[in-house]
C-alpha cells in the first residue's frame, strides 16, 4: 500500500518558535518536500536533534522526534539506527551543537559510516542564548561575548567533514529553495553518512552578509563551476573557501558508497546467529564447572 504522502503529511500542528524570517523556516519547508518526495511514512522516520533554535525542528514534523541534550544528537541517532536499521534516521542541529559542544562526535559518526543524514543549520552565531560567538563565527565578529571582536579562527565544517571521510557533503541556503530541497532529498537517499551544511540566516543576531538577500547575491552553485562531485580532492579545495565564498550544491558524493556500519552489523549478526547460540535462559551454563 503506497498512498501518496504530500509535504503537509509531515507537518505537525506545533507552531515553530523561531523569529519571523528565520532561515530555519525555509529548511523546514524544504524538508517537508524532500520527505514527501522520498515517501517514507512519518512513523518510519526518526528525527533526532540536540539543543538550539534549529534543534526544535523534529517537533515540527509528524515523524518520531527526539529533541535530546546539547551536542549529543549524533550518538543518540546512531543508537537509534543501529537498534532499528529499517528506520530513516535524520539528525539536525546548529553549528554550536554540532561543531562546538558536540564536535567530538562528528568524526566518529563519519568514520563508522552509520546511515544517517546530518543537517546542520549553520548561522555562525548562538541564537537561542541570544547572540554569542559560535564555532563558525568569522574572526573579528563582535558579539556579546566578543565585544572587541573575536580572536578565534572559525572551524570549517565542510573541510573537516570531508577530511573525516564523509561520503556525501553538500551546502545549501534557503535563498535557493529548489536547490536546498533537492540537496536534502539527495542526502536522505545517499546510503551512508550524509552531511548538508545549510547556511541558515539568523535574522536577529546574524550579520548583514549572512542574510538571505546577501546569500542570493553571493551564492555560486558548484554545478555552474563545472565541479565534479566524484572528485574528492577538488571538493577539499573548494571547501577551503568556506567563510569567503558561498558555494552551494554537492561538494562530494562517493561514487562507490562503501557498506554502512548498520549493514555490516546486520551481516555479522546473521553470521553468528547461524551458530545457534545457547538459549538466553541457559547463558549461565558457560560458567558451569563439574
Amino acid at each position: 500500500m503506497n498512498t501518496f504522502l504530500g509535504p503537509n503529511d509531515y507537518k505537525s500542528p506545533l507552531k515553530p518558535i523561531w523569529c519571523p524570517g528565520c532561515g530555519d523556516y525555509g529548511v523546514l519547508q524544504a524538508l517537508y518536500r524532500a520527505l514527501s518526495a522520498i515517501g517514507r511514512p512519518p512513523h518510519e522516520i526518526a528525527f533526532i536533534s540536540g539543543i538550539g533554535c534549529s534543534s526544535r525542528i523534529p517537533g515540527y514534523t509528524t515523524a518520531y522526534g527526539f529533541n535530546t541534550v546539547h551536542g549529543r544528537a549524533l550518538p543518540i541517532a546512531q543508537g537509534v539506527k543501529l537498534a532499528s536499521p529499517e528506520l530513516l534516521v535524520v539528525v539536525a542541529g546548529g553549528d554550536g551543537d554540532g561543531f562546538s559542544i558536540g564536535g567530538g562526535h562528528v568524526p566518529h559518526a563519519i568514520r563508522r559510516n552509520v546511515d544517517l543524514t546530518y543537517l546542520v543549520m549553520d548561522n555562525q552565531v548562538y541564537g537561542l542564548t541570544k547572540g554569542q560567538l559560535s564555532p563558525t563565527s568569522p574572526r573579528g565578529l563582535k558579539t556579546v561575548t566578543s565585544p572587541m571582536g573575536s580572536l578565534e579562527q572559525p572551524i570549517n565544517p565542510l573541510l573537516t567533514v570531508l577530511a573525516y571521510g564523509a561520503g556525501f557533503v553538500a551546502q545549501a541556503t534557503p535563498a535557493d529553495m529548489p536547490g536546498m530541497t533537492a540537496l536534502i532529498e539527495e542526502a536522505l537517499r545517499y546510503p551512508g553518512f550524509s552531511f548538508v551544511n545549510i547556511q541558515s540566516p539568523c535574522v536577529t543576531f546574524g550579520e548583514e552578509e549572512q542574510q538571505l538577500r546577501a546569500h542570493k547575491a553571493r551564492m555560486k552553485p558548484l554545478a555552474s563551476l563545472g565541479h565534479d562531485p566524484a572528485n574528492q580532492l577538488a571538493a577539499l579545495d573548494l571547501a577551503r573557501a568556506y567563510g569567503t565564498e558561498l558555494y552551494t550544491g554537492v561538494f562530494y558524493r562517493n561514487p562507490e558508497p562503501p557498506p554502512t556500519y548498520d549493514a555490516l552489523v546486520r551481516l555479522r549478526q546473521a553470521e553468528l546467529q547461524r551458530g545457534e547460540p545457547r538459549p538466553r535462559a541457559r547463558v549461565l551454563e558457560a560458567y558451569l564447572r563439574s
Binding site: 506545533l14 511514512p41 512519518p42 512513523h43 518510519e44 522516520i45 526518526a46 533526532i48 539543543i51 526544535r56 523534529p58 517537533g59 509528524t62 515523524a63 518520531y64 522526534g65 527526539f66 529533541n67 535530546t68 541534550v69 549529543r72 549524533l74 550518538p75 543518540i76 541517532a77 546512531q78 543508537g79 537509534v80 539506527k81 543501529l82 537498534a83 532499528s84 529499517e86 528506520l87 567530538g104 562526535h105 568524526p107 566518529h108 552489523v265 555479522r268 549478526q269 553468528l272 546467529q273 551458530g275 547460540p277 538466553r280 535462559a281 547463558v283 549461565l284 558457560a286 560458567y287 558451569l288 564447572r289 563439574s290
Partner: protein, 585 residues
C-alpha cells in the same frame, strides 16, 4: 581440621601468583569446595606488584576473608604494598621465599606478627625439580597442598588444563615442581597440623566473577543494545557482550566516549530496545546529563557502575563504596533514579535482572552499583534456577490506543504511560529533554511541569514497599543492628553470624535497593534498635548519611566507614558490635 582457609599470595608481575591463585581456585571448586578469589594489582599494565587472595570453605563463602590463614610472600617489598588488603595475625602461617631473608620487623602491627614463619627456598626447589625457577609458584601450590590438604589430583588436573596446550616439556616441568612442593611440605611438617575438611557431597557449581554474572544476566533479561566506553573495572562487561550479544541479534557499540556510549543506549531504548551501558565513577560523572534526559523522556536504561576508589582517577583498581551519592543525586532538577547494589557474585545476577525489570516497568534509568571487589572476584556459585525470574517488558500502546489519538505521556494512576517506538504506526510523538505535555509538546508551563514531576515520582512509589529488595536476619525485636551494603555486606553477614553465636542481641539489614530510600522498611527495622553500625567502605559513610536524610535513624546507630582499598575484617566488625552491645546495658 579446617572448614575454612584464607590464602594470600604476593609477588611481582610475572611471578605468576595470580595464575597460581586461579589454579588453587579451580582445584578447590572442582572438589566441591566453595571458593572465592580476589586479585589486586598496582595499576601498571605489566609488571609491578600483584596479589591474590583465595578463600576455600566447605560452606558458602560470604566474603574474601579477613586475616590470612596463610600468607605467601615472594618478596617483602611487594608484600608491604598491599598493607591492610592482606592483613596478618598471630595465627597466620607466613611462607616466604627463603632468599628474600626473614620478614622485616615492622611487617605487621605490634602483636599481629605471625608466630609461624616458614622460609622455603622456592626458586631453588623449582630450579632443581623443574630446571627453571619460573615454576616457583607451582612449588607453592605443592607446598600448600601438602600442608593444608588441597587435593593434589585436582591441582594436577589444573596443570594439565593450563599447560597441555603449551607443550609436553612445560607440563612435565610443572608436575615435577608440584611434586617437589608436596615433598617439601612432607619433610617440614607444620608445628600444629592444619588441613581442610573435604566437602561431603560435591555438586556442580558455577565459577565466575561479578562482571561475567552481570553480562549473563543482561543476556538473560533480553538486553538488545549495549553502548559503552572501556573503563576499569567494568570493561569486562562490554567485552563479554561484544562477543555474545550479536549472537542474539543485539548490538554493542564501543563509543568514542562515555557520553556517546550512554547516548547510543538511550537512542536504542527510544527505538524500542532493551539497553544498557556500563562504567565506573569517572564515566558516571560524564554520563549524568544523558541520564537526566532518560529520566524526563521516560526511557528505560540500565547503567552498571562498578565502583572504584575516587574522586577523579582515584584508585582505578581498588574497591570503594563512595559513589552512592553520585548514583542517587547526580542530576539537576528533581530526579528519582533507582539504585540497586549487589553484595556478591551470585546476587549480581538477580539484581541485574531486577534492574532491567525496573527500567522497563517504570520507564526510567536504573543504576546497578557494583564495586571492584564483586565485579572482579571469581567465586563458586550454586547453580541458579533462572526459571524463578520473571522478565518484564515495557508497557506498549494497544492498537486501540494507537488508533485514537495516542498520548505518549498520558497521566495514569500508576504514573506509567504506554511507550511507543519508531516504526509503530500511530505512536509518533516527540521525545524531549524539554518539559512536555501529555502529547510530548514542549511547554514552559509551571502547572504542567509540576504534574509531570509528580507523574515521574509516582511511578516509583511501589518501590517503597519492596521488602524483597532487602535482606533481614535476626530477631525482629533485637536492639542491636548491623546495616551494610555492597561488598561490605559479605563481611557484615559473617560478623552477624559470629555475633549471634556470642549471644549478642543483633539483627542484620542488607539493602539491595539503596535509592529511593524505602522509608517504611527502615522505620520498621529501626523500631527496636537502640545501638548499631552502618558498615560501608567510604570516607563519609554515604549510606548512613542518605538514611539520615530520609529516616529517623536511632541516635545510637553509628557509622563504621572508611576509605576504599581497606576492606573490613570480620574480627574488627565483631569488636565494634561488642562495644555497641556493651553500651546497651
Amino acid at each position: 581440621m579446617l572448614e575454612d582457609l584464607v590464602v594470600g599470595m604476593v609477588g611481582s608481575g610475572g611471578d605468576g601468583v595470580v595464575s597460581a591463585g586461579e589454579s588453587l581456585l579451580a582445584a578447590a571448586s572442582s572438589q566441591g569446595f566453595y571458593a572465592l578469589m580476589t586479585k589486586s594489582f598496582g595499576s601498571q599494565i605489566r609488571g609491578g606488584e600483584s596479589s591474590c587472595r583465595v578463600r576455600i570453605s566447605t560452606r558458602k563463602v560470604p566474603n574474601p576473608g579477613g586475616v590470612l590463614d596463610v600468607a605467601v610472600a615472594l618478596n617483602w617489598e611487594d608484600f608491604r604494598r598491599f598493607g591492610a588488603e592482606l592483613p596478618l595475625g598471630p595465627d597466620t602461617v607466613l611462607i616466604h621465599e627463603a632468599k628474600a631473608g626473614p620478614p622485616p620487623g615492622d611487617l605487621a602491627p605490634p602483636g599481629r606478627a605471625p608466630r609461624q614463619v616458614l622460609a622455603v627456598p622456592l626458586a631453588e626447589i623449582a630450579k632443581t625439580a623443574a630446571g627453571t625457577d619460573r615454576a616457583k609458584t607451582t612449588v607453592v601450590l605443592g607446598a600448600l597442598s601438602g600442608w593444608f590438604g588441597v587435593p593434589p589430583e585436582a591441582l594436577d588436573r589444573g596443570l594439565m588444563k593450563k599447560f597441555s596446550q603449551k607443550g609436553e616439556g612445560l607440563l612435565e616441568a610443572n608436575r615435577k615442581a608440584l611434586a617437589a612442593g608436596i615433598a617439601h611440605a612432607a619433610a617440614h611438617p607444620l608445628a600444629s597440623p592444619r588441613a581442610l575438611v573435604h566437602p561431603a557431597k560435591p555438586s556442580p557449581k558455577l565459577l565466575c566473577d561479578g562482571n561475567e554474572m552481570c553480562a549473563s544476566a543482561a543476556l538473560f533479561s533480553g538486553c538488545e543494545f549495549f553502548g559503552g566506553y572501556p573503563i576499569t573495572p567494568s570493561t569486562e562487561v562490554m567485552q563479554i557482550l561484544s562477543r555474545e550479544l550479536p549472537k542474539y541479534g543485539g548490538v554493542v557499540l564501543q563509543a568514542e566516549d562515555e557520553i556517546s556510549g550512554v547516548g547510543a543506549a538511550v537512542g536504542a531504548s527510544f527505538a524500542g530496545k532493551k539497553s544498557m551501558t556500563a562504567t565506573s565513577g569517572p564515566g558516571m560523572s560524564l554520563k549524568t546529563e544523558v541520564l537526566g534526559l532518560a529520566t524526563i523522556a521516560e526511557l528505560p536504561l540500565v547503567l552498571l557502575n562498578v565502583q572504584r576508589g575516587g574522586p577523579s582517577t582515584g584508585l582505578p583498581t581498588k574497591p570503594e563504596q563512595a559513589d552512592l551519592f553520585q548514583a542517587a543525586f547526580s542530576a539537576h532538577g528533581d530526579v528519582l533514579r533507582p539504585v540497586l547494589a549487589p553484595t556478591s557474585v551470585e546476587d549480581t545476577f538477580r539484581l541485574t535482572v531486577e534492574a532491567f525489570n525496573l527500567a522497563e516497568r517504570y520507564q526510567t534509568p536504573v543504576v546497578i552499583l557494583s564495586d571492584q571487589e564483586i565485579a572482579q572476584r571469581k567465586e563458586t556459585v550454586d547453580q541458579i534456577d533462572v526459571s524463578r525470574f520473571e522478565v518484564l517488558e515495557r508497557l506498549r500502546p494497544t492498537p486501540e490506543q494507537l488508533a485514537q489519538g495516542y498520548q505518549r505521556f498520558a497521566d495514569s494512576p500508576s504514573g506509567v504511560s504506554p511507550l511507543s517506538h519508531p516504526g509503530m504506526k500511530g505512536g509518533n510523538y516527540l521525545a524531549a529533554g524539554i518539559e512536555h505535555d501529555v502529547k510530548g509538546a514542549p511547554t514552559a508551563s509551571g502547572a504542567v511541569h509540576a504534574a509531570m514531576n509528580a507523574k515521574r515520582f509516582r511511578k516509583l512509589e511501589p518501590l517503597q514497599t519492596r521488602t524483597d529488595l532487602f535482606e533481614r536476619q535476626g530477631a525482629p525485636d533485637a536492639p542491636l543492628a548491623l546495616v551494610s551494603w555492597g561488598s561490605s555486606a559479605g563481611v557484615a553477614r559473617e560478623a552477624f553470624v559470629r555475633a549471634r553465636a556470642l549471644g549478642l542481641p543483633v539483627k542484620l539489614l542488607v539493602p539491595y535497593l539503596l535509592y529511593p530510600v524505602a522509608e517504611p522498611v527502615y522505620r520498621e527495622f529501626f523500631t527496636s534498635v537502640r545501638r548499631g553500625l552502618v558498615l560501608e567502605l567510604s570516607h563519609q559513610g554515604q549510606l548512613y548519611r542518605v538514611l539520615r536524610m530520609f529516616v529517623d535513624v536511632p541516635a545510637g546507630m553509628t557509622s563504621f566507614a572508611r576509605s576504599g582499598a581497606q576492606p573490613f575484617r570480620v574480627d574488627e566488625v565483631l569488636e565494634r558490635l561488642q562495644q555497641q552491645a556493651e553500651a546497651l546495658r
